[in-house]
Amino acid sequence: MPPVLAPATAGSTRRAFLAASAGLALLVAGCTAGSPETPAVSTEEADRLAGQVAVQEAVVAAYAAATTADPALALSDLAAQATEQLDRLRAAASSSTASPATSSSAPPAAPAGGDVRTWLREQVATAASAHARACARQTGARAALLGSIAAGLRGHEAALA
């Protein structure tokens, strides 16, 4: 992988760097338990990944609840990204050996008349920490995906500050 900036003496470019990054994205998107090039997914790892689907479902539900409670917050971009993250997690979990977890918990309720933005930020922060912990216990493309989603939610926290 070329460095962030091309060395002044080399011919590599940022485009090459981004192309290398895109290759990793394809690796993540195409990861399956049966790929000959990737390590087998343990049942424990697959269960943990399925568990993170439920965590992300709670994030999507929290954005919906916050939008209902305070439409002026203009959360559409962040909510859309949270849904993208959920879709990618579901796809990765369904390609593992375990069945994706189904969320049985009630959707979160935003505080009526309270500080909805702060409440939402706390929900996002909790999910980011959960994904980060799960990332450390995964390997390969699943660790990369969970780590990236955890970081994305850290960015949401910053945007909601």
Binding site: P3, L5, S21, L24, A25, E84, A132, A144, A151, G155
Partner: protein
Amino acid sequence: MRGGRDVADDGRLDEGTETAALNEVVAAEHAAVWGYGTVGAALPEDARGPAAAAEVAHRDARDRLVAMLESRGADPVPREAGYTLPFPVLSAVDAATLAVVLEEGVSAAWVRLLDQSAEPAVRELAVEELGAAEVRAVGWRTSAGRIPVTDAFPGL
């Protein structure tokens, strides 16, 4: 192991794949430290605080990784003599845009490390630093006028 890139022939992750990925992060951090010098120079003096803080953060991360590599007997990749900017940096917006490039590039290297690492402790470090890079990137995207200011999948 010293020198070359080591990827297990059977695709499994081991210390060799991890060490190679750690060195890719070191290379990215070297570039970020260098790049933030340019970012800071293009900003008004009273707006240089975030650039200075980011430079320190990247220097600290790089030094931590170098120490980690040395502790396992690997040679950390040295910084380049110079780097080529992806575009001219002539304004505060250019500076913020360059900072976004730096943070996104470093993020890609951290994600690569997550993909290649064998040790949970290394992944803990990587996901922490990846999150910090994305938080900085949000600030710079805001300064650069980018919308949205967040990225659903930093580094991927």
